[in-house]
Each structure stands twice: as C-alpha cells, then as structure tokens.
Amino acid sequence: MSQDDPCLDQLYRQHSRRVLATLIRLLGDFALAEEAMQEAFTAAVRQWPDEGIPDNPPAWLIRTGHRRGIDQIRRRQTAQHNAHLLAHANEAFPDPGEQTFEDDQLRLLFTCCHPALPLEARVALTLREMCGLTTEQVASALLQKPATLAQRIVRAKKKIRMAGIPYDIPEAGELPERLPGVLRVIYLVFNEGYSRSEGEQVVDVSLAAEAIRLANELARLLPDGEVFGLLALMLLHHSRRDARQDKAGELITLEDQDRSLWDQTHIGTGLQWLEAALARTPTGPYTLQASIAAVHAKAVIAGDTDWARIVRLYGALYQQQPTPVVALNRAVAVAMRDTPAAGLMLLDELASHKVFAGYHRFHAARADLYRRAGNNDEARRCYQQALALVSQGPERRFLERQLRALDVSG
C-alpha cells in the first residue's frame, strides 16, 4: 500500500470526514485536528501493509490521531489552557460507534454554520470542513482569490476560538432557531453551483452535488420536514441542469426547455423527499418551494403546467416569506394562470415599492408580460430598464436577445 494506492484513496474518501469531525471534538481545534488526521493517515500507510487493515479503521485512525494531537498540545505548552483535554488523554475510551460519528458530523455542521460567523465564512468553512474541499478548490468554486478565501477561513476559525463558539449540536429547544441557518448555507452552496455554467469552472467540483450530499447526510441525521423539503427542492432544480443552457451557455427559460433532457431519476427521488416533507407539519418555505418545483416537474409539456396550483403555493409561501422575489413570482404565475394583463396589474401595485425599482428581474418580468400582451413599446422600455441594472453574463445576453426580438417583430 502506498500513498497513491487506490485503496488508501478510497479509505481516505470514506473515512476522513468523520475522523476529522470526531478529532475536532476531542482536540478542540480545527487546525490541530486536521494535522492529527493527516498524521494518522500517514501512519496507516506505513503500518497497515505489514499489520493488515484493522477491524475498525476509523476507530484506529481516531485513536492514532488523538494521540498525536495530545502530544502536540503538550509540546506547545498550552497544557494549562487545555487541561480538560489532557485529563482524558490517557483514558481508554471505547471505539466510537455510528452514533458518535453522526453526532460529531452534526456538531461540525452546526459549528461551521453558526450565525455568529459571517455568512460568506459559513459557506467557505462548510465546503472546507464538511465537504473536504481544499482551500484552492473552495476559492475556485466560489470565484474568489485563494488568498482572500484563506484569510476568511482563518478569521472564522479565530472567531470560533475567541468568542467561544462551542462545538455542539444545539439543544432541542434551540434547533428551530439554528436549523434554518444550516439549510440556508447548504442552499447557498447549491445556488453557487446551480447558477454557474459548468464550463466556467477551472477545478472540477460540483457544488450542487456537494450541497445535495450534505442535505442527504443531514436528512439522515436530523429528520425534519424542512430538511426533506430543501433536499427535494435541490433535486428538482438539479434535474433540469442539462436543459437550462444551450451548448453556447445561453439561458433557456423553463417554458422553452426540452423536457426530455430533465433527469427523471432526480425528479423521482425529489418527489419522494417532497412527500416525506409534506407528511410533517408545519409546512415550511423550502417545502413550499419544492412543491412549486414539483408542479413544473410533473408537467410533461409547458402547456400542462398547473398554474392555479402554483399561484396558491406562492400565496402560502408569501405568508411565510413576504419577500419581493416571492411577490414577483406570484404575479407572474397569476399572469400565466389568467392573462398577462392580470399579472401586469399586480406588478403595477408592486412598482410603488422602492425595492423593486432596482431589481432587474422585476423589470424583466414586466417586459415579458407586456410582450405577451402585445404592447411592444412598453416591453421595450422595461427591457431597457432591466438591462440598465443587470451585469454581464447569460442573463444579460438573454434580455438583449429578447429586446432584439421585439425590434424584429415591430
């Protein structure tokens, strides 16, 4: 067995995340735990060819890593500060069972997603510690400079230490407060991957797949309606990945997508998770969004879409999340259910709110409805307003195409 041995590679992929999570708990420090884990794997490479693979590889790795970590603590003479860690150093504690691994994974996730950390740091930390991406991979995936991202992670770990953010699963009473934050981070990770065309990524890391994997883990460890709902939402969105961009990377709207390219396996799994989510009460925002995605997923052709249901779902979502985006989406759904004029009336009401003035999607939606209503002059005006607000990229090119198409049709 060597460093490049596929067997070691597989063992690393299989066990490294849970070994890390447990070592962080035992050693009380991210950097120390990572070092200790690396040393444990190095020791495994050296010793296992002769001694054979132990019955419980992760337990062996944790014991070895723990010993190395404790040695480091002693050597650094921070013994007084870490007395509580050293007190247990010589205890022969039982091999960690599944429950311990799962608890430690949750601890790590909740710590990485702690609301006391800046949001960008939570995303970076989660990708680094939970998903095992290197700093370079995370930087590349988030389109940030590696040095900037590394600094962000260093500052986050410093805050965890200085402010005393505990390595803990929140108490049952606190979970309702803390779980949405974790889901939000996972969804952010998903959207980072979802909005970007795969071709633009230098390093081949699928953030969308990582987010789905994280949510799957979380669903197993913490069965909760909104966790299931988020998982359903992401799977349903992900099912359309091959249909939403053409070969040149240009946007194709939901209406125009080739539905035969939708991944039916993902849709099937997504709908199953949605069912599980709906079985639990109350129904939360992610579950509602997943329900909306499901209506689209079940329509074989765009014309089959049950827009009346979508309008009702957006109404329910607005009750829980009265945001401009939801209001806008509901107005568009009303237009699809009834007439463009009906949607335009709702948009006119929204227009009086300042927040929509600077929101390019508002103007784009308005333009689209004017276009459908046959009012090209107003459509043109609104497309131009949208273009004044949107930056370079697929969305801008899409709006430019729509505007040009108006000029062609008169």
Binding site: H114, A116, M162, G164, I165, P166
Partner: protein
C-alpha cells in the same frame, strides 16, 4: 467564559413610552437580573443615564480634551451593560436574548479578554 452584553436602543423609543410602560420595563430588567444571579450567570452590570448625560475624554499630545456628549452619534444609544459568566457563546447569546430591551434594541455580545499577568 466571561462576556459583556452591551445594550443599545433608540432613546426616542423610551421617550415615547408611557410612565407605566417604562416602569414595567425596568421591573422586567430587575427580575431578569435576579434570575441571572440565581442561575450563576450575573457578574456585574448597570443601567446608564441617557447619552445627553455623557461626557467624552480624550488625551492627545498630553492635552486632556473634554467634550459634551457620547463618543459618536449613533442611531441606537448605549443604555447599559451586563458582565456575564457563561459556558460558551451559545449560552451567552441565549442569556442576551432574554434581556428585555433586546425586543426593540440591539445587544452586542463580546468575549472578555483576560489581560496577561503583570510584568
């Protein structure tokens, strides 16, 4: 771990309160301190007079500069502080969330820095 909870709110909110509401708020805070003390979380704390009573001191080039008012004009003003003993940040945040002015103001929670031993 020790944490300071700095209590900020817009004084205009207090000024708009009725006498009874202000009295009730103070009673809530007193009861809160009792609870924190019983739980072993309360180390120290004080409510403060409004910012109009503040005076600022700076020493520059050995000159003592005194001016009227708080160190900066802010949307929310410092109204008081608590020095708390808590297991970790999560506990500190839970305690801070129960400080009555948290409902309409902002509580900043900051860990205490122990100074190194005297040389």
């Amino acid at each position: 771990m020790k944490y300071v909870a700095l209590v900020y709110y817009q004084e205009s909110i207090i000024n708009a309160m009725t006498e009874q509401a202000w009295h009730d708020l103070n009673q809530e805070c007193i009861a809160g301190v009792e609870r924190l003390t019983d739980q072993g979380n309360y180390v120290a704390g004080q409510a403060l007079h409004p910012v109009e009573s503040a005076t600022t001191v700076r020493v520059r080039d050995e000159e003592v500069l005194i001016s009227d008012g708080p160190f900066a004009e802010t949307k929310e003003q410092l109204a008081g502080f608590y020095l708390l003993e808590a297991r970790d940040l999560n506990e500190a945040l839970q305690l801070a969330s129960r400080i009555p002015p948290a409902r309409f103001g902002t509580i900043e929670v900051r860990p205490v820095r122990e100074l190194p031993p005297k040389d």
